[in-house]
Symmetry: D2
Subunit: 138 residues, 4 copies
């Protein structure tokens, strides 16, 4: 955790976790799914706003702690995808989850911000990612 | 909504909502409960971290939209309080909730970040606030 | 200063000052000049990026300190305006400047991000503001 | 540049540059100088606030642009160091500086926020870094 993530109580200021979550999802779209946000959102005007977000802050995290971030597709629908994201860290030598998120992303058109089915290439990339998960866990 | 709250899709970047939520809760402690964070957290070293946070993003919000923020105690425990917070706004003339939060705050000691019972003055202030709510809604 | 503005050293994390500066300038355009950013930037696609920014951090500021913000036009050109902004505050009872900014804003077209002359209504509003300043100080 | 760095005008929201600058300086202390902020600031209570910061925004930067960051010691004093930092990027195929910073950091004691001479290990690390620069450029 960086200096700028932390507050006068010496622990991570929780709104910063959502910036980290957004960065992780952005990296996953670009590197994992091969569909960078700047193309999807910037050029193709496909929105990917968050409709629902449940967060459990399990342990406090301090400046200098390191993080391992995991992302997992929990449910893939026609125009929405539910992600399970875990930030693991060390808190006084004990390693384990610091924060757990369940995030529903909805595919929208940026012209009217209404939901729309995933474009074919994005759907295919999400399905490949989901299939790879199931192989790993079976 | 401010310019700096919004993203290239022209709508509020959702991590900014959590900064607004934190500011609202900070103002509520200072102005509503009479216990400013800089005294509680800064001088008395009483922490008030968020343990759980459920968020529903109901409608998109755009730069220049105005907000009405409401805060409501849903449950008051020995060392935790559950808040229900609603940000109402206008989206294309329709007014109604933009974002709804259910937030569990836990009272901790900043020496070890472990939960502790609310200090007496904070408990009394929360109980007064809860009683005032019930009168209003009965 | 808010909890979320401050860092583990207990003082304002300096990138937060630039968010405050941006909010002040946004408010000044909307309330002072009568040209809200959401119209100017959002609808009319007139950009107002910062080209140069000199900042002097005079005193540290702590959580809970209050601020008085002053804005002053130092120079008005054809497509740029130089602002002098001072954040005054109290530091251990002594009141005086905490941060001083000299900021050059340039008027651009958002289609190509190239400088352009101020639109007539914005130029007129800036000139009125400049004239009002000179009366006050003469 | 990330999605969350950019504004409705589609370009980087300038307060985000200062978060990037702070992260770069934090990484340079940890990786370059071998003195991580969490030890220096957290454990040893040595502050490193910014006293002065001049910034020139040379070109606009868009979502998805990549950055190269360079840091250079311009002047090393008893209790302050002046850094020259350049963020290079590509803007429509042209590569070159996007933003240039001149930043004065002052070493302070976090007990009273007053300037103090650099601790010996930090001074030695800064001198090694300065010497390495001069060899490279001679």
């Amino acid at each position: 955790m960086r200096f700028g993530h932390c507050d006068p109580a010496g622990i991570v200021f929780y709104p910063r976790y959502f910036e980290m979550l957004n960065e992780l999802v952005e990296d996953w779209f670009g590197n994992g799914l091969g569909l960078p946000f700047e193309q999807l959102i910037g050029q193709r005007r496909v929105g990917m706003p968050t409709a629902q977000l449940e967060t459990r802050f399990v342990r406090v995290s301090r400046h200098g702690d390191s993080l391992v971030q995991r992302i997992h597709i929990e449910r893939l629908g026609r125009s929405s995808v539910t992600l399970r994201v875990v930030f693991d860290g060390k808190d006084e030598g004990v390693s384990g989850p610091l924060v757990e998120f369940t995030q529903v992303l909805v595919c929208t058109s940026l012209s009217d911000h209404k939901p729309q089915a995933f474009p074919d290439d994005l759907r295919a990339a999400l399905q490949r990612s989901l299939a790879a998960q199931q192989e790993t866990s079976s």
